[in-house]
């Protein structure tokens, strides 16, 4: 007998507003379902925001902005592209996008994991932070645009550039401006002018290698890629040069 908890519940999102859809999802989860399939999703916002716990959600179509914002626990797979604000201030859980992500992905995320197969937009991972065992991991398979990881305060960001053509470089400028925590691993190189003043560049040490290997393995498993092939390329580590980048601005 299938327990209610294991039951797969399919929800047709066609024609529903975000409020209606999310109310329906709350209802379904409250009734004990832990596996949801959403079909015909078309721009509905805040999916997963108020669904706490160990829930798996498969989204077919295009979820709207703030997918998984403030989310606490669920694991979401997007079979398509995501829009802006994915994982905004996310607390825990996982979002896998079999396609592209939009702008401000992972803003202020404080935990959980985000894996995006292709490219993402501008202002991603701004002010991502960590505390104790809460440490967000974001792996972007493609490339990102400007202001990536501005004010970054914690967590791990991996930028793989798998969508770049041979010899093509990441275009993002102002990477890590104001960075004061966390670490960024970039496959390949970025020029100094692309980095914020608060960012240091280094080779990966052993701890970095382990951390990167783990993140890439998880990413590759989501999309059926070969992790060794991804890792065979050189990586650059970006780190915060100071814990207190603006400590000397002021007169007391």
């Amino acid at each position: 007998m299938v327990k209610a908890a294991d039951k797969l519940v399919k929800v047709d999102a066609a024609g529903l507003t975000f409020k209606e859809l999310n109310a329906r999802l709350r209802e379904v989860v409250d009734s004990g379902a832990t596996r949801l399939e959403l079909h015909n999703v078309c721009g509905q916002r805040y999916i997963g925001t108020d669904l706490d716990g160990d829930i798996r959600i498969d989204i077919y179509g295009t979820p709207g902005n703030d997918l998984g914002a403030f989310m606490n626990g669920p694991r979401i797979q997007v079979h398509g592209n995501a829009q802006d604000g994915l994982g905004n201030t996310m607390d825990s859980g996982q979002i896998v996008v079999h396609g592209r992500g939009g702008d401000i992905l992972g803003m202020s995320a404080r935990g959980g994991k985000v894996f995006v197969r292709d490219d993402v937009g501008y202002r991603c991972c701004i002010h991502m932070k960590e505390y104790g065992d809460k440490k967000p991991t974001v792996v972007i398979g493609g490339t990102a645009q400007d202001f990536l990881a501005e004010y970054m305060a914690g967590g791990v960001l991996v930028l793989l550039g798998l969508t770049l053509k041979e010899g093509e470089a990441h275009q993002a400028n102002f990477i890590g401006t104001g960075m004061h925590g966390g670490v960024i691993y970039i496959r390949g190189k970025v020029a100094d002018y692309q980095l914020g003043r608060e960012v240091g560049v280094a080779e990966l040490d052993e701890e970095d290698e382990g951390q990167l290997r783990g993140a890439v393995a998880e990413f590759a498993a989501c999309f059926g890629f070969d992790p060794e092939r991804i890792l065979s390329h050189g990586f650059t580590k970006l780190y915060p040069r100071w814990l207190r980048p603006y400590g000397r601005l002021y007169a007391y």
């Binding site: 975000f18 409020k19 999310n22 709350r26 916002r45 805040y46 925001t49 108020d50 706490d52 902005n65 703030d66 914002a69 403030f70 606490n72 604000g85 905004n88 201030t89 607390d91 401000i104 803003m107 202020s108 404080r110 202002r123 701004i126 002010h127 932070k129 960590e130 505390y131 104790g132 809460k134 202001f147 501005e150 004010y151 305060a153 914690g154 104001g178 004061h180 925590g181 814990l243 207190r244 980048p245 603006y246 400590g247 000397r248 601005l249 002021y250 007169a251 007391y252």
Partner: protein
């Protein structure tokens, strides 16, 4: 930023410390109380000596001296009289020449911009309509915070309830709340005092953007939690705990800029509550990077409503600036259930002095223009209007309500009730009164039992005074005064000012 070790400071002491040798018993209370090391005990001479240079004029020593031996006074300006180059400007230039930094300061604007409350007077009933005796008649100060529908439909038949549920409302027993004072800026004992007083008096306190300490979750029903650009300590339990969730866009003391809580204030406990590692600066960026427009604001407002399942009002707070009226219209249309305006005189734990003293507009003008604009657009009912930044007394509260406010946040007044002497040293972390500090030695200076009592007393006193003023006007419910500007008259204001405030001049 080049500080040469041998550079002699040209700054002269701002305060004079006079110790009456006849009275001083060398008990060293002043030595222990001063956090700026002004007083020093000389064992050989068995005397307490003072170095005036570092005195900030907080009066902690004078207040605690058991022999009343200390007098702290402002030294007369050491410079020649000059209306342009007042001592403040002189001192600032000297300090910057010696440090090369941005001048930091604490508390609110001290520049003396016109305080409109002091140019507004209230009405009272005489002969033609009776005043009401609040000692005899019930006086209603209850205030409901939340969006009110355009119309209420009642179900027919025997039912007497509204046909549709109202948007979430929060009940205040008086229209005064404690404004955002974050843990890290103020101590946990201060927050506990605020939370307990708010609970006792049936009003709300506000966490600011520093998260909610685990020990304060029990006061959740009387708590407003903030979501600001740093998103510190924002997680599902935090949002669920609150009565209201407030999005902080701006603050009256520092409109348009972010905040940097210095690493040395990020102690173990502050770190736990803000959820950032100890010792790192807590940086709040200037904008929220997911809000670049009213549409983006609407997105966050609704994200928070979704995150809390539409069970609580969502507030949006801005600093009062030139275009507040238009912005406020957008805020209401974004779905905010409460909007907050923080005026030019609003205080802070730390802000660049030049921003604090020069950016923003007086709260009275912002309030009047926002209330007018929302009424003109027919959307005033959709959000409660709350103001802060320079409310010093119950009379200011009553005038604010008459100008159109639903409720008032107090910050400085609450801190003064706790002992603050407005010495403007909050940014140093060395608050001698134990308020604006995370130094465990200093935070003990506030006892939450006494703090809560002092704050509750203040609100009780104001409550009585508000009822007295209302009764005098012949009004028995605060609701009847809201936006009732006929009860106000201006004194010594020009035509433009009267026009913006929407009040007549006294005598007309």
């Amino acid at each position: 930023m080049a500080t040469i070790a041998t550079m002699k400071t040209f700054l002269e002491p701002r305060f004079r410390v006079e110790r009456d040798p006849e009275r001083c018993i060398a008990c060293q209370v002043c030595v222990n109380q001063c956090t700026f090391d002004v007083h020093r005990y000389d064992e050989e001479r068995d005397e307490v000596l003072s170095v005036e240079q570092d005195c900030v004029g907080c009066h902690r020593c004078a207040a605690f001296c058991p022999a009343n031996a200390l007098t702290i006074s402002r030294r007369p300006p050491p410079y020649g009289e000059n209306a342009n180059w007042s001592p403040g400007f002189m001192e600032d230039v000297i300090k910057q020449a010696e440090t090369g930094g941005m001048l930091l300061t604490g508390m609110g604007n001290d520049r003396g911009y016109r305080v409109y409350w002091d140019h507004l007077v209230l009405n009272a009933s005489q002969v033609t309509n009776p005043s009401i005796d609040p000692l005899r008649e019930p006086m209603e100060l209850t205030t409901f915070i939340g969006s009110k529908p355009d119309r209420v439909e009642f179900s027919g038949g025997n039912g007497n309830g509204a046909a549709k549920p109202l948007p979430p409302q929060v009940t205040l027993q008086l229209p005064v709340m404690f404004t955002a004072l974050s843990y890290g800026a103020v101590s946990l004992h201060v927050q506990e005092s605020l939370a307990r007083a708010a609970t006792e008096m049936g009003t709300l306190w506000n966490t600011g953007e520093g998260g909610l300490h685990p020990s304060l979750y029990r006061y959740g029903k009387n708590t407003i939690v903030q979501v600001a650009s740093g998103r510190f300590g924002v997680h599902p339990a935090y949002l669920d705990a609150a009565a209201i969730v407030e999005i902080k866009i701006g603050q009256g003391a520092k409109p348009g800029i972010g905040g940097h809580l210095p690493g040395e204030k990020v102690s173990e406990d502050v770190s736990r509550t803000r959820m950032i590692p100890t010792g790192t600066d807590a940086l709040s960026p200037a904008p929220q990077h997911d809000i670049y427009s009213i549409e983006d604001l609407a997105q966050l407002v609704h994200a928070l409503k979704e995150a809390t399942n539409y069970t609580k009002p969502v507030s949006v707070k801005i600093a009062a600036v030139h275009n507040s009226a238009a912005i406020a219209s957008g805020m209401v249309r974004s779905g905010a259930d409460m909007i907050v305006l923080d005026g030019l005189r609003g205080a802070t734990g730390a802000a660049p002095k030049t921003i604090r003293d020069n950016v923003g507009i007086p709260i009275e003008l912002a309030l009047a223009s926002v209330d007018t604009r929302l009424r003109q657009e027919g959307i005033r009912n959709l959000a409660s209007l709350v103001i802060c930044g320079g409310i010093r007394s119950s009379a200011d509260v009553v005038k604010a309500v008459a100008l159109g406010a639903d409720a008032i946040y107090i910050g400085t007044a609450a801190l003064v009730a706790l002992g603050c002497h407005v010495c403007q040293q909050c940014h140093t972390g060395k608050c001698p009164w134990g308020i604006c500090t995370s130094d465990p030695h200093l935070t003990k200076r506030i006892n939450p039992d006494i703090g809560a009592q002092r704050l509750a007393n203040l609100l009780r006193g104001w409550s009585l005074e508000i009822k007295e003023m209302l009764g005098g006007m012949g009004i028995n419910a605060l609701e009847s005064l809201r936006g009732n500007r006929l009860h106000l008259r201006g004194v010594g204001l020009n035509g433009t000012e009267l026009d913006i405030l929407g009040v007549k001049h006294a005598g007309s």
